[in-house]
């Protein structure tokens, strides 16, 4: 115990009174010296000689002092404080270095912070709810949405503390003054606010007793944005009324600004309405897909226990409902973070890609700074050599150089934070061209701030460690004499490896970025295989209607009604539209033509109505269109695209041939037509085979259908007449009408956003890489002024010297480019799904363009200083050494 106290006392004394401890050591060492001198004199030396011998035998005073300090164990803290002061002073003396390094790091860090805040806004941050760690997304019975009855049953089962439900896919008309505006409300179960604890800033949320769907509640809670923009921030908003689909709703509350909604992905509906039969007359229909489920775990209930409980209950409920196949839990994930849905995965992959790219940009920036520091280290060789010679320890010097890096990283990252704040402000003001109400609110929260600190650490290690080690590993004598080491003779130098590595990383980044940029410009002009101009698209929802009924009668009537509108050339219906979000492909075994063996065929399957191809602007290259006579009683027919012919009919004429799906008892299908190829699911897909089948011959209960209208002139003026016409036909269907070109903007969105962000990062990376490359190459050449002078003195021609300088730089850069291109070919392969056709992941233009840029920069960077060096008189140059 006593010993422990002693240790603590000593450490404390050392730390608090470091100066005194040092003074004491000095005194002790001086005493030692003098005792030695005394003895030397006693042994018969003269006082002067005695002193000289004692000093000579003593060894490095500085060394002893440093090691003794280390032994006291407080060295580190004390030194860091001193180094922080010292290095900042030193850096202030070199403003160019400071600015160049800080700008590099700032640009690199800004990209990373922005991408991280984007990731947080979209997927990582939990929604604003009470105790998000107990709230889960629940997916049951292989459906994204549960029926109202299933929600009631689950809520009554007590498997979790509570269940709530929501959906934001329906549209309602809000009467804004005289005109109706279509908005997408958040339709929720009555207990939504109680279960989730979504905060309400003014007024209150509705309660489960007053808002029960059976009571047909007419209350609403509005978003902050809606209140501010659409209701002019009316201070008496509580109690005001909104007209939704012709009925009046009382505003109970206003949500806080920048609320992260439970639906995630920045989805921010304007109004929250309890389910009710005015808006959704059929909300209680047994199989209607009504709401996505949220579950509140009981206190102390784990995720696994909750999942097991809900699974058992849902299986039982499904059995009772006569569904033996699909009961049970498929999704049970905490809110916030990446869910297991396909959308989450896609968004996650995309953001991960952005993260990797922005990290690469930062690495390039770090390589720049490392290059600068190495160059500077070489210039400071003499200072460093002196410090090592008088006994400064190498660890101590490395530490000091690292702290220098820390300053650069701190200053750079702080500037990067400021830059990314500006970026966030810009992004927050952009409205995304998407059909769902998405509000992206990027902000600088603690997690983003922590990520910035992580970046500082990463930056220090990446940009200062190598230069520090490099600078302190020198042979003393030539360094003291200011001689250059014979780097020129060595193949592998830290600078050379760094240069090559930097070029490699930059190449990978730029190839990726260029690929996306080319993709972007290409996507604007890619032909999807149908005409998007002069076309309107109506999405018709039968959610409220009769799901199992044959809607073809309604659809046929709608087509005829629309076709009779003035300005309409053609109209048709289909179960889905290519490049909309619902596409999928089929794989089945089929017997084709005379071939007795079944083979596996894979194709995009379209259920379409008569006149589809002329309405879509798809050319029928052989055979015929579908006719109104291709109905349920008539012989089964199909139309295929040219790719289907090429693949499965081996190019033979398929018209009149027959095809039979093995596991389908529908009999033979006759091929009656061939149409041109198109894009079906993404613009970037490889050419798919496609088969078109009359919707009336294979209707299996549609929920959504599309009506395509080809117009003579601009389609916009026809939006309203078309909506009115459909509304008159059947009031129960929901209708969204928009020009096809804007509907398909969504298909282009991933490559547009990706192109914009990666393009920006790519340009940033290119500027940084070119800048760094130039700095390092020209520095390397300028170090060789002496050598060049000798060569010229010995009679080397200017041309020969220029060639030599350029060859050396080009070799390092060339190896880097080659490595980078190789890695790029591998890395970019998974990007194919994002790319438009005709653009492969190993796009020659992107690859060659990148290589050319780097080689051009390296030639320029070596040529200019080399030319300068050849003009220096040999005598002057030799004296520089």
């Amino acid at each position: 115990m006593q010993r422990l106290l002693d240790v603590i006392r000593l450490r404390a004394r050392s730390l608090v009174r470091a100066h005194r401890a040092d003074a004491e050591l000095n005194r002790e060492l001086r005493a030692h010296l003098e005792l030695q001198i005394e003895e030397n004199i006693a042994n018969g030396m003269s006082p002067d000689e005695a002193r000289r011998m004692a000093l000579a035998n003593f060894g490095g005073v500085e060394n002893v002092r440093e090691e003794a300090r280390d032994a006291r164990g407080v060295h580190v803290i004390e030194n860091i404080a001193r180094d922080l002061r010292y290095t900042l002073r030193a850096l202030k003396r070199e403003p160019m270095l400071l600015v160049a390094a800080a700008v590099s790091i700032a640009l690199g860090a800004a990209g990373n912070i922005a991408v991280f805040s984007l990731a947080r806004a979209f997927v990582l941050a939990p929604p604003d709810v009470r105790e998000p760690e107990r709230l889960v997304y629940v997916g049951t019975s292989h459906r994204s949405h549960a029926s109202y009855q299933r929600w009631l049953d689950l809520e009554a089962s007590g498997g979790l503390e509570h269940f709530a439900g929501y959906s934001f896919e329906n549209e309602v008309n809000w009467l804004d003054g005289a005109a109706a505006v279509s908005i997408m409300p958040m339709m929720v179960t009555a207990n939504f606010f109680e279960v989730t604890g979504v905060p309400v800033a003014r007024g209150r949320g509705f309660s489960s007793t007053e808002a029960r769907a059976e009571l047909d509640p007419h209350v609403v809670v509005v978003s902050h944005d809606f209140w501010q923009r659409k209701l002019a921030g009316d201070s008496a908003v509580i109690g005001r009324r909104l007209m939704l689909n012709g009925a009046s709703y009382t505003i109970l509350g206003v949500l806080p600004p920048h609320l992260r909604g439970v639906a995630g992905f920045g989805i921010s509906p304007s109004v929250y309405v309890p389910l009710n039969k005015t808006l959704l007359p059929d909300f209680a229909r047994p199989n209607a897909r009504m709401v996505k489920l949220l579950g509140r775990l009981k206190p102390e209930q784990s995720l696994v226990e909750g999942r097991a409980a809900v699974d058992a209950i849902d299986r039982r409920l499904a059995r009772l409902a006569g569904d033996t196949l699909y009961g049970g839990v498929q999704d049970f994930t905490l809110v916030g973070g990446l869910g297991s849905s396909k959308m989450s995965r896609t968004v996650g992959v995309f953001i991960a890609l952005l993260g990797v790219v922005s990290l690469l940009v930062l690495l390039i920036a770090c390589a720049n700074v490392a290059g600068l520091l190495i160059a500077r280290g070489t210039r400071r060789r003499q200072e460093i050599a002196i410090r090592l010679a008088i006994g400064g320890s190498r660890g101590r010097l490395v530490q000091q150089l690292l702290i220098e890096g820390l300053w650069l990283a701190l200053i750079g990252t702080a500037a990067g934070l400021a830059l990314s704040l500006g970026f966030m402000r810009v992004v927050n003001s952009i409205a995304l061209p998407v059909p769902i109400p998405i509000e992206v609110h990027l902000s600088l929260d603690h997690a983003v701030f922590l990520s910035a600190i992580g970046l500082v650490v990463l930056t220090v290690v990446a940009c200062a460690l190598l230069p520090a080690i490099h600078a302190t590993r020198l042979t003393l004598v030539p360094a003291l004499k200011r001689e250059e080491p014979f780097y020129i003779m060595r193949r592998f130098t830290a600078r050379g490896v760094l240069l090559t590595g930097q070029v490699t990383v930059s190449t990978v980044l730029l190839v990726t970025a260029l690929l996306f940029l080319r993709n972007l410009t290409r996507a604007q002009v890619t032909d999807p295989g149908f005409e998007t101009d002069h076309a309107l698209m109506a999405q018709v929802g039968f959610v409220q209607g009769r799901p199992d009924a044959d809607h073809s009668a309604f659809l046929q009537a709608a087509v005829e009604r629309i076709a009779s509108l003035p300005g309409v050339d053609a109209a048709a219906y289909a179960a889905w539209i290519p490049l909309s979000t619902r596409g999928s492909t089929n794989g089945q075994s089929a017997r084709i033509g005379d071939n007795p063996n079944a083979e596996h065929v894979e194709f995009a399957k379209h259920l379409v109505g008569p006149g589809y191809f002329s309405a879509m602007g798809i050319r029928v290259s052989g055979g015929r269109e579908f006719l109104t006579t291709d109905g349920p009683g008539a012989p089964r027919v199909a139309i295929i695209n040219q790719e289907f012919v090429r693949r499965y009919f081996r190019g033979a004429n398929p018209i009149g041939q027959r095809l039979r799906f093995v596991d389908q008892n529908g009999g033979d299908i006759e091929i009656v037509g061939v149409v041109t190829n198109g894009k079906y699911i993404t613009l970037g897909e490889d050419q798919r085979a496609a088969m078109y089948i009359p919707l009336r011959q294979e209707s299996d209960g549609l929920r959504v259908a599309f009506l395509i209208t080809r117009t003579r002139g601009e389609p916009i003026p026809l939006v309203k007449p078309m909506r009115d016409a459909l509304g008159e036909l059947d009031r129960s269907v929901s209708v969204v009408v928009e020009p096809m070109s804007s509907a398909l903007r969504f298909a282009l969105l991933p490559s547009r956003v990706g192109g914009a962000i990666l393009g920006t990062l790519g340009v940033l990376g290119l500027v940084l890489a070119a800048f760094g490359l130039y700095a390092i190459v020209s520095y390397n050449v300028s170090r060789r002024v002496g050598e060049i002078a000798i060569r010229s003195a010995l009679g080397a021609s200017r041309g020969a010297i220029l060639r030599l300088a350029i060859r050396d730089a080009s070799m390092h850069v060339g190896v880097g480019v080659a490595l980078g291109l190789g890695i790029s070919a591998v890395v970019t392969a998974p990007l194919r799904t994002f790319l438009v056709a005709g653009l492969s992941a190993t796009d020659p233009a992107a690859f060659a363009g990148t290589a050319l840029v780097f080689l051009a920069v390296s030639v320029a960077a070596s040529w200019l200083p080399a030319r300068h060096a050849t003009r220096v008189s040999p005598v002057v140059a030799m004296h520089l050494e």
């Binding site: 010993r3 240790v7 005194r27 005493a31 030692h32 030695q36 060894g59 060394n63 032994a71 164990g73």
Partner: protein
């Protein structure tokens, strides 16, 4: 022999041993080890003082400023109780080890 040739950790034992009989200052410790070893072991200040400070830090020895016989101020080190116990432990271990090595070299 140079201190760097000493078996790692031996310096600490030598210092503790030299302090077993009386308290000494740094120079006297080095001198003592050199004399007793017949000038074979020469301890450099670069090793001695860090070792002394480390031992003090570990609570094996304590230090005080006193005057030596010629009236000069010097920092005198002496063993603590823990230091004495440590020395005994190290000595007996050293005996065992060196006996074993001797036996091995003689008979193997």
């Amino acid at each position: 022999m140079r201190p760097s040739d000493l078996i790692q950790g031996t310096l600490d034992v030598l210092i503790l041993k030299s302090l077993a009989t009386e308290s000494r200052h740094g120079w006297a410790i080095a001198k003592r080890i050199q004399t007793v070893s017949g000038d074979v072991l020469q301890i450099k200040q670069g090793s001695l003082y860090p070792a002394l400070h480390r031992l003090e830090q570990q609570g094996m020895i304590r230090a005080e400023w006193r005057q030596n016989e010629t009236g000069r101020e010097a920092k005198f080190y002496s063993l603590t109780k823990a230091g004495r116990a440590q020395l005994d432990a190290e000595l007996s271990q050293w005996e065992r080890l060196s006996a074993a090595i001797k036996l091995t070299l003689k008979n193997a």
